[in-house]
Amino acid sequence: MLYDLFALFFGVFVTVFIYSFLWKENPLSRAVEHLFVGWAAVYTLATMYDAALSQAIWGAERIEGGNYIWIIPILISFMYFFFFSKKYFYLYRYPVSIVVGIMAGMMICGMIQSNILAQIQSTARDLPLVGAGVWDYVGGSTFIQGVNSLIFVVASITALTFFFFTWEHKGVLGISTKIGRYVLMATFGAAYGSTVMARISLFIGRLRFLYETTYTDEAGWLVNAWYIIPIAVICVIIMALWMRSRPEEKPAEPAPKPEKPKSKG
């Protein structure tokens, strides 16, 4: 139970500290940022280590069950540690090349099938410009299919011509690239709108944590998360006053350029 109370305090403090970055970068926001990165790294390492053990060792079809082929990937993975040896550094390249080779092989097959062939097939299939009912207005949320198709065709071609640099963008090509630029801007605008929506969603998530999270112990003692906000804000204010009282730091001098290595020849 005490753990829950600590988690509540900690959650409120780190939330307020990280948002204090919006006022100005300060030691509290930086500390929380480093904490997050450090913990994420350690957690990921521990989880992957645990998963690798359960993957290779524990289970009926693993080393535990007499399937010793799983020793090979373990040995190969240990070859990564030759990165720290000058003499045997070349052995480090073997696991790297195995991973790169497998990934390249997998990605080429997967990408061609799913991202190229399936996309071309769908574009050709779903863009009818002629045919029965294509230009009929159905009403409601269903738009004229032909208009949609036409916009899609024009947008695809003009956007592609924007990246066509063999000839100067003049005449018909100039008009096409101009339309293509607007298409790209509309695409980036849509992506920007989605980004704003996503960021506000995350902000809402933190605010709901601050406003709605509560802790109740066995004696009925209630602590709302928002009770703790003023304490965290006072910490930020003290930090701000401390930063103001300090003399301004001079910008760091640029590091000296490294000397050029002397050529042997």
Binding site: A52, S54, W58, A191, S194, A198, F203
Partner: protein, 287 residues
Amino acid sequence: MSIGSISKIDRRYLYILLFIAVSIPLLSPLKLPIPIGEHAKRVYDLTESLTAGDIVIESFDFGPSTRPENYPQAKGHLFHARELGLKVVALAFWPSGAPIGEEALREVYGADFEHSSEYGQTVVYLGYVPGNEVGMQTFGDDTSTAKGTDHWGTSLTDLPLMRDECRSAEDFDLWAEWASGTPGEQQVIQFVQGRHGGPSAVPIVVGATAVSVSGMMNFYTSGQIYGILNGLAGAGEYEFMLNIGYGYPYEQGPSLDAQSLGHVLILAFIVLGNIGYLLTRSKGGKS
């Protein structure tokens, strides 16, 4: 202060205004109407079309940083699957997704679900499956090769659902991908769906962060993704449909109100900023 100086206003005032605009509906919900989008409706309808006993893969491929968007989507879908009597195999290809998946399952199936009688029969949690894309492909080819044990170390041969029914992608009836990066929906399309019969054999629904939805629309129009829950709004829409159909608590209402008010404010900022910019430029000032 002239209107031209609006474009030079300190951004910190805008942060305060945004904080106020988002806080008001959270403290006092406005109960704005929720239009159900086509993308979310397709996720709901496809799940509804499954019959009891069908196998659903619930893949928790996100971390704490996108939890406000992905978690309510996944939790709602788990609830839906349970109500329909679907068999759920949950897992995570992200290390940080493993504890979040466990938490969602505990909320839907009960705090001690791994010791319940239905565990191993109708629900299994594999936890983190290592290997990223390779792990996904292996899981699609042969589930027991991808990971030999569940999240708590029980061998898959001791879990009837994994031993007898869920052996490879041929047995999957739906893949629900809760994603916020790589590996995510694109890798499922490439390494599971693409290798095992295409969209008709392994239909995929995605719960995505809003920032990534525009990038996956081409997979939606091509049919490789059947339906999408678009960020927090998608989660809210799904919860709303579940609320009507099954009485599921509609918790995202205040969040969607806050989202709407925040967007209105940002639109106002953009309009005012542009007016200020145009006025400054018309007076020959620096843009």
